[in-house]
Amino acid sequence: MGEVISSPLPFLVVLAPLIVAAAAPMLGRWPNAREGVSIAGALATLGLVAALLPDALEGKAATASLVELSPGIEVTLRADAAGMLFALLASFLWVLAAVYSIGYMRGLEEQKQSRFYAAFALSVGAALGVAFAANLLTFVLFYELLTLFTYPLVVHRETPEAVRAGRKYLAYTLTGGLALIGAAAWLAMLGVDASFRAGGFLGEQRWWTDGQLWALFFLLVGGVGVKAAVMPMHSWLPAAMVAPTPVSALLHAVAVVKAGVFGMVRVLIFVFGADLLRDMGAWQVIAAASGATLILASFLALRHDNLKRRLAYSTISHLSYIVLGVALLGPLALTGALLHMVGHGVTKITLFFCAGAIHVRTHRDQVSGMAGIGRQMPITMGAFALASLSMVGIPPFILFTSKWYLGWGAAEVGQQAFLILYMVSGVLSAAYLFPIVIRAFGERSPAFPRFGEADARMVVPIASGE
């Protein structure tokens, strides 16, 4: 992992969103001030993360140790390379989301906006904590807090449907969290130093029997797999689509599912390590599950007319790209997976922002109702088209690069079958995204009223998303 230097910065990165969260409800009567604080906080967080970058690029990991949570186990935040990547992604997208939320929430006159901004900031803070967590207990702490803080966002609409979605969300993610807690308690009991280490810490310890190792594997992978929405643990994600669009963006692009796949990286590479997983033959289990998810979710996306649901299944599919890339255990595939994590975050947030902008302007959510909408909202749909191209994996967009690495990585480890899976799924992505673009620009619907372009506050983040 290279050199470790002590620095309060990782701690400040996690703290900054908390300050925003504390300020938001107090400024509830002055929406401009509240949202100003939200944007300023997002920018400050991004700045703090950026300040960590020089050290991270030199291979030094800035580390902040806080209070001891359990004898011998401290809350430790460490900005290593993988964590920095996730933190940069989350804090950058938070800036966009903070600007976009204003347009969206005001445009729809949503209720309880202070609670929304506070919970949003808390969720980002928890996600940053997940990114910088240097050991398993710290990871579990922030992973659970992330669940807790996103719950008010999922149920934001307070409709019976939202409440049901919230229950489902809690049931899935809390169960996953308990699996992680079980595993963490087990390791703590053994006095195992569960600090994340490149190459894994279990490989060199050899206290386990095969049965114990598999049990640990299923607890940990199952625990993070819930948030990574690997089938069959995915059904909370489409259900959570009832939440406002910025929340969907948070769930899909910024924090929650990314915390899941990031957790997968941590568990597979930093807990078990590639060698151990290869010895166990465990990678095939994940590869099979994520490969199946990849294709199935793409087909399911085709079936859905509701734009946000279609995007949700697209997310499930693309998350499995990443999980599969990690599970292939090759350096190229891992690079591809991390790139895909970033690229998918940026791209998917664009798509969701577009869906939200359409909803605010036209109150239409069905793909079939969007004929000719591109003529009304050229910038929004233009961005949508670009993001779709990227999603399918057409050069020169980022997701082309990541898919290139993923495919190459699959070939490198001799798994051409997965290369084919990636290609098939790319075609399917085209099949569920391009018709939307074509219909939006190509067809003309006579009964279509004039809506005009969306609010600038929503357009700017959309456009800058690509």
Partner: protein, 502 residues
């Protein structure tokens, strides 16, 4: 401060004699006097805790100067100082917060009410600091009798609940006394340290085994171990809300403490695990209780009854920790004594506050209360999250250490049940949170307020639901805050207080 051990229960006992008289001549002085007595006792407990931690050894005090086997000895070690500090400080918070509720529920009998409260606390602290088996029984009966009387203040249903509690509680007390008598046959002493020494020397015999069985059956009633919990749901539901918020967090915990004491300083190490299957019984019943309690709580409509079943569930976890009987298991149990006292204190005060502010305790009627009573509701949310056991709240860490202790002993099913029971508790607690925050507020007059963030317009049509005053909300907010802060700082409690004591 050689008198420190006796100074913990003494202020309470003395005040319980003064307060009824004050009730006759100066009713206004009753409340300040009682609070002062409890605060004094809490301060003494804190002082004793500080001294024990600093000195590293127990404080011993012989009543009237009579040497131990003949006289009564009071012992404050790490564990008893810890438990005494927890119960007195939680009691202080609760009694302060419950002032208005008590004024209404015990109107005209305020002197007697507070005398009973003080007797209850004197009994509980006495059980904690005494070093004498028979003296435990005496204090247990003092606290129990006071509790029966307090529960009976809750109207007709309260009287029935109190009667049931009286019958079962007396059976429990008698069992305990019988058990002590059986031990006395063998040892001829009632002093705890003496008993431990003699029991370690004697061959295991049937009299000691029967004694252990009776003692634990009796204590099982006191700590509401399933299936001996039958008194608890009614007593907690129908007692006046000023009473149940006092009884629920601390009463059963002291029963649990005496159990820990039996493992720790009465029976020889391993005796209760190998010779008499007390450990195994505690684990089995505890697990059953933790699942059954959570399951029963899901179906409850009354908030207090739901919390009562939740107590059955949490006390089950406590029994599991005691049953594991390793130092870590006992430490987990004692940590849970503190955590559960804080959380349940906060939650029962929430129930009280909602009864006062909104006039309801039916979960279904709580729709929209989240906005009208923001502090009370957020205390509930924090308490619920702590109860489910999400890090870094206190509730997480008792389960954390309990899990580690269970795995350490290879009890994998214990780990599974402990984790499953926290999912079950999430079900019934989030159900209430949904009601508080997400259900549409009942429309009293005019249209529902949609999206407007100003409370001014809303409060005109809220049907009189309003937040409780500061003297209610502050103590319960402090308890909720403590549940977070002591969670983060749990290592201090574990390493400085519990580990040296075990």
């Amino acid at each position: 401060m050689e008198h420190l051990p006796i100074l913990i229960p003494l202020p309470l006992l003395a005040a319980s004699l003064v307060v009824p008289l004050a009730g006759l001549w100066a009713p206004r002085a009753v409340f300040p006097l009682s609070v002062a007595a409890i605060a004094l006792s809490a301060a003494m407990s804190a002082l004793a805790l500080a001294e024990v931690v600093a000195e590293g050894e127990a404080l011993r005090y012989t009543l009237g100067g009579w040497a131990p086997p003949i006289g009564i000895e009071y012992v404050v070690d790490h564990v008893s100082a810890f438990v005494a500090a927890v119960i007195t400080s939680v009691a202080l918070m609760v009694v302060v917060a419950a002032r208005r509720a008590a004024a209404r529920e015990a109107a005209g009998r305020r002197g007697l009410f507070y005398a009973l409260v003080l007797l209850l606390l004197a009994g509980l602290t006495g059980m904690v600091v005494t070093g004498d088996l028979f003296n435990v029984f005496v204090f247990m009966e003092i606290s129990s009798l006071a509790a029966y009387a307090l529960v009976s203040l809750g109207g007709r249903a309260g009287m029935f609940a109190a009667y049931r509690y009286l019958i079962l509680g007396t059976v429990g007390g008698s069992f305990y006394l019988l058990g002590v008598a059986f031990l006395y046959f063998t040892t001829g002493t009632l002093n705890i340290a003496d008993t431990a020494r003699l029991l370690a020397e004697t061959e295991p015999n049937i009299s000691v085994a029967v004694g252990a069985a009776f003692i634990f059956a009796g204590l099982g009633v006191k700590m509401a171990l399933i299936p001996l919990h039958l008194w608890l749901p009614d007593a907690y539901t129908f007692a006046p809300s000023s009473v149940n918020s006092l009884i629920a967090p601390i009463m059963t915990k002291v029963g649990a403490y005496v159990m820990v004491r039996m493992f720790l300083s009465v029976f020889p190490e391993g005796y209760l695990t190998e010779e008499v299957p007390v450990s195994q019984a505690l684990i089995a019943l505890g697990l059953a209780g933790s699942v059954y309690g959570a399951y029963a709580a899901m179906g409850q409509r009354d908030l207090r009854r739901m919390l009562a079943y939740s107590s059955v569930s949490q006390l089950g976890l406590l029994a599991v920790g005691i049953g594991i009987a390793t130092p870590l298991g006992l430490a987990a149990a004692l940590l849970h004594v503190m955590n559960h006292a804080l959380m349940k204190g906060a939650l029962f005060l929430v129930a009280m506050s909602m009864r006062m502010g909104a006039g309801v305790s039916d979960v279904r009627m709580l729709a929209g209360v989240g906005r009208r009573m923001p502090v009370t509701s957020s205390v509930f949310a924090v308490g619920a999250v702590a109860m489910v056991g999400i890090p870094p709240t206190a509730g997480f860490f008792s389960k954390w250490y309990l899990s580690i202790a269970a795995i350490d002993e290879g009890l994998w099913f214990v780990l599974a049940v402990v984790l499953a029971s926290s999912l079950l508790s999430a079900v019934y607690l989030f159900r209430v949170i949904e009601r508080l925050y997400l259900a549409p507020a009942p429309v009293i007059a005019g249209g529902a307020d949609d999206g407007s963030e100003s409370d001014a317009a809303a409060s005109a049509q809220d049907g009189g639901v309003r937040e409780s005053p500061l003297d209610v909300t502050l103590p319960m907010a402090l308890l909720a805050l403590a549940a977070i802060v002591l969670g983060v700082l749990n290592v201090v409690v574990m390493e400085r207080v519990l580990e040296p004591g075990l």
